[in-house]
Symmetry: C2
Subunit: 229 residues, 2 copies
DNA sequence: ATGTACCAATCATCCTACAATTTTACGGAG
DNA sequence: CTCCGTAAAATTGTAGGATGATTGGTACAT
């Protein structure tokens, strides 16, 4: 069989191999990878070539290098770093609109597929929210709120959706957090999660989507008002 | 105010500068960027450092290098390449679920914001679809179909949503295309786009979402059946 | 226990050299 | 003059070595 000559550069080949090693957990997250000199021997390439490959993956967010210490695995997929960079050039409202798209779909899927364990987790989040609300504990409230939404998305069972949502949540919430601290009043009183929980429990797709919409409209309104100042 | 020391490596600094040049269209897509030797002088770094920066952006999909020829700008944002890599590890159905999430949201937003120009474009796509259907021209039908969906998303006005959707569409449709050629019967008869168009024209968010759902369910069903073989 | 000096490991940057590939320039054949 | 083949130039790819900077640890003196 005739086959095109191998025109992928050495660097890309090495980068792909390393990506595969990370993806297959042979190099685990937070672990140190072998030093350059060893990898040079193992892959049988020059220092330059190896460094260019590693640097590509550092830029992609898979690895992190510390001079004097070593190179460490930081993530198993490169989507996060790219998304984060993209989100920096995006307004909060645009991000929010995409986020609601993902969460609405997730809620509907969760309503179909949710397990007992999912419901238990969601219930725990709601309790934690209530608890935090009673104690006026902002940090705990925010954490529980995030966890509630993440749990819904995780219950969708779609890993791509989960990945996209998690990274999108990070940046939105770091923003939300900053301004909730300034304006702590509005969050603690309301309790919009219970309806959504019940909809998912009852496998009511339509209601689930509606409640996510409402929830987001509220948040959107607050952020819009906030941005005017 | 205490601030962390500047520990960004030279390579990252150069990569960021280049990214900015591309983002600000000073280096335009498909154009050749200056050769290494010039950039070395401009940025005042060694060849290694420059090459590592460039290689990072090649891996990210922003640039493409051709030995003997030069380095060319290939994209203005790095999300596409990362997404493509991620999608390779994702099943078609999972991708489709995310895609419907985005398109549903887009359709609702389009129903609110669509301009006359948007409607005209959508109308043109529908006509082209009908035309192709009459002529039994599969290629044209598929192209028009893609264009119809893309136009809806573009009418949403959310650039992040557009970016995510476009790349997701590419991979889904390259798959769809392959199997439509084998099974050309089912697509040409139906005309599900008209309802969606009218909903957007009438600014009817709810119906728009419903029609996208239906449309996608049909496609999903076909793909599921196809995957069983 | 604490701080200091030193050492080893490791990555960061720079340099030179050569190979591989593509584009361009040039010179001769028709 | 055009066409074609070859040489030269331009450009990126790969290799290997040298030096600097940062980190983490060790031994020792206080």
């Amino acid at each position: 069989m005739i086959q095109k000559a191998n025109r992928t550069s050495l660097v890309e080949q090495i980068a792909e191999q390393i990506e595969r090693l990370i993806d297959q957990k042979q190099w685990k997250v937070n672990e140190k990878i072998p030093p350059e000199m060893e990898l040079i021997k193992e892959f049988d390439v020059s220092r330059n070539t190896l460094r260019e490959a590693i640097r590509s993956l550092v830029h992609a967010g898979l690895l992190e290098t510390k001079q004097g210490s070593g190179t460490f695995v930081r993530s198993t997929n490169a989507l996060g770093a790219a998304l984060k960079r993209r989100l920096n050039k995006t307004t909060m409202l645009e991000t929010l609109e995409v986020r609601v798209a993902l969460e609405k779909q997730a809620a509907q899927m969760a309503a179909e597929r949710r397990t007992g364990a999912d419901l238990a987790k969601l219930d725990a989040c709601i309790r934690s929210c209530k608890n935090a609300s009673a104690n006026r504990d902002l940090e705990q409230f925010i954490m529980s709120d995030i966890q509630f939404h993440k749990t819904i998305v995780q219950a969708s069972g779609n890993q791509l959706l989960i990945d996209l949502y998690e990274h999108m949540t990070d940046t939105v919430y770091s923003f939300v957090h900053d301004f909730i601290v300034l304006e702590p009043s509005f969050l603690l009183e309301q309790e919009p999660h219970l309806d959504l929980f019940k909809a998912i429990q009852n496998k009511d797709k339509k209601s689930a989507a509606t409640y996510v919409d409402n929830d987001m409209e509220v948040l959107k309104g607050h952020i819009s008002k906030m941005l005017e100042d």
